[in-house]
Amino acid sequence: MKPLALISRITQLVPVLLGVSVIVFVMMALTPGDPVEIMLADQQATPEQVQAMRHDMGLDRPALERFGIFLSNALTGDFGLSFFHRRPVFDVIAERLPATIELTLAALLLALAISIPLGVVAAVKKNGVVDRLAAIGSLFGTSLPGFWFGIILIILFAVQFKLLPVSGRLDFGCEVPPVTHLMTVDSLLRGRPSCFADALSHLILPALTLSLPMAAVLTRVQRSAMLEVLRSDYIVFAEAKGISRRRILWRHALKNALVPTVTVAAIETGSLLGGNMVVETVFGWPGLGRLVVESIFVRNYPLVQAAVLLYAVTYVLLNFFADVLYTTLNPRVRL
């Protein structure tokens, strides 16, 4: 069953990737602005040099031909050179990706860590204090514009209380040889607790900013899923069996109630990945989102194309993982 499911995902991926490539290419082709002009901004250049640079970037070819070249190269894993970095797009993205992954994962974990227990407690003690607070909290969470919240956090925790750093990913005393490129993980793997603390302190604010709206949504999902499950017959039957309340809640109920949470978390993580450029900008987080936005503004087509494809692949894979998780939580569902 599993390998078939994977194949299914991959076949699903093909039209999605193709569609995404076409859209991104057409969009880029229709957008006014010329990377060469942007690169030469404010500087003098002769028409010959402009022509030479256009040739270097392959911009002197017709759009359709460029698309063909892009596609055939992409199939071999070659995404070309980033116009501005003058290095393979692949390398440039690979350098920035771990930061984005780390931030996204941290936000995801944070959101889950907040929302699952909160949702469960809110459902169990329906209309209790926790439930009310969670409801208010999640309303605020979904209503706060992230960029605004981020700045407020900086002012509070970094400038006023000086508890946490304003921006960046890791301080400079720490040079941790990379393993996974996730700083928090690497510093632990390499046995550098002080670096771990440092990496963590850099991670907290951006991850919090990013995770809050998600935590808000997930808390609500978890709560209503839990309420629904708690109403179900098998919970009553479990109670009739005389087993402990703890077991009923955390084993019987939660395992079922996690299913919608997982699904929503996957969708939200997808949009998190694509939407964290705002947070990356505010916190100077060296992630991919910022790079991509900058690249759009300077018409760095190869990088944008590759990054968008990467996002699409991630989106599909995320959903796949969610489905896999789904089957372990709920054996009725088969992939």
């Binding site: 901004a41 404010d42 003058r86 505010v282 987080w285 060296p286 910022r290």
Partner: protein, 486 residues
Amino acid sequence: SELRVGFTLDAMTLDPANHRKRETETIIRNIYDGLLTRDAKMKVVPELAESWTQVDPQTYDFKVRQGVTFHDGTPMTADDIVFTFERLTKDDAMGGQTSPRKDLVGPIKEIKKIDDRTVRFSLSEPWPILPAMLPVQEVVSKAFTEKVGSQGLATQTNGTGPFKLVEWRKGDSIILQRYDAYYGGATEIPPVGKACVDRVIFRVIPENASRVAALLAGEVDIINELPPYDMKKVETNSNTKVMKVNGTRTFFVALNNTKKPFDDPRVRQAANMAINKALIIDKVLLGTAVPLNGVMSPDAFGYNPDLPAYPFDADKAKKLLAEAGYPNGVDATIDTEGAFKEITEAVASMLTKAGIRTKVNVGEGSTLRAKWAPKSDKSGDMYFTSWGNGSLDPADIFVPTLRTGDRGNSAYYSNKEVDVLLDAANVEVDQAKRADLYKRAQAIVNKDAPWIFLWLPQDLYGVSKRVSGWEPSADSRINLHDACVK
């Protein structure tokens, strides 16, 4: 000791020959030295060259400084210099690519090593600004480049500068360490010797508010692009201060000289009179800009100080409009980028009060640039924009923005007289005569008013009081060789 710079942008590459980005240049310039450099007052002085002589209008000889070593310990030789400039100027010389900086070294025909101590640059035509342009080209090691390849040079360095690269955390920071065997730098810029601080870190903080916050929180010691509004904050903080320097970026509103209503010089002059520059500079820019009546910075070569100012006079402006056949005023749109929205709105409301009813259209930078390109369909009315002039030489700003059909001529301005003067200046070797040509051209432009002349903002830096020995430089570079921290 460690000095941290909160910087707006990361380097694109660390290959000195493979970018066209001012911020990248700033970072690289702390790792690599050039043949020449500039002091804080923008005077060009020798660096890796001991001295230079202009043999004739098309030939320059550079004397190579001895005893300079690259960071890997190998000595720098005349061969490295020849290699560096051949790499910059020869087509496909960088692993199949042509350097995007090729034009910045002008019409070079040949670079030759005369002897171990002398390198000769031969030009195909006179290009008087060559020395002014050389401070932005850095010398690389031939052996190292051949070893790591052009691609390798993007992330690995082997310079002759005061700092060597420790680690580049892409998008996050660049960590540099003092090069102890540094030869000392330009002799005309004291102090000479190795760098003062052990370590320098460029931290990338693109968001203004965060960058200021980082300075105030003591996380960084120097920040660039301090927003004027935050000056007070930085000044009142006991540990930080503001440092300013005249910038090199000229702000103006390009008027479409080919389209009604701005095809009429009277309307353009009226527009110039409509703006209360002093008020904007005072209130919005908090006094951190000098008003301009032309294209060039007061610090630039060939600046004409005698240009008349258009007085702020809304009534006169209305009168001029009426003379031009618009007694009821005109409607127009002003294009601007998001970053300048606020100030453009201020400008627009002043224009409106003077009868040029102006709507602001905020567009994305690259789109607007395309819209206002000389080859475009010339559909815009006004364009709030700017042009930088890091070399402080008119060739780098006057020519591209105002010569007929040139790359940056977004006003579509065309005046034969001005074109002739500019072309003559471009090849005039006598600097006094050259300056005079530019001054005459400035006077004409001032009268024609193809733009609404605005101002030249100062570059603002927030600096921690720990830092000493560092001064901001007019070309927006951050040279940390002499900076010390307590």
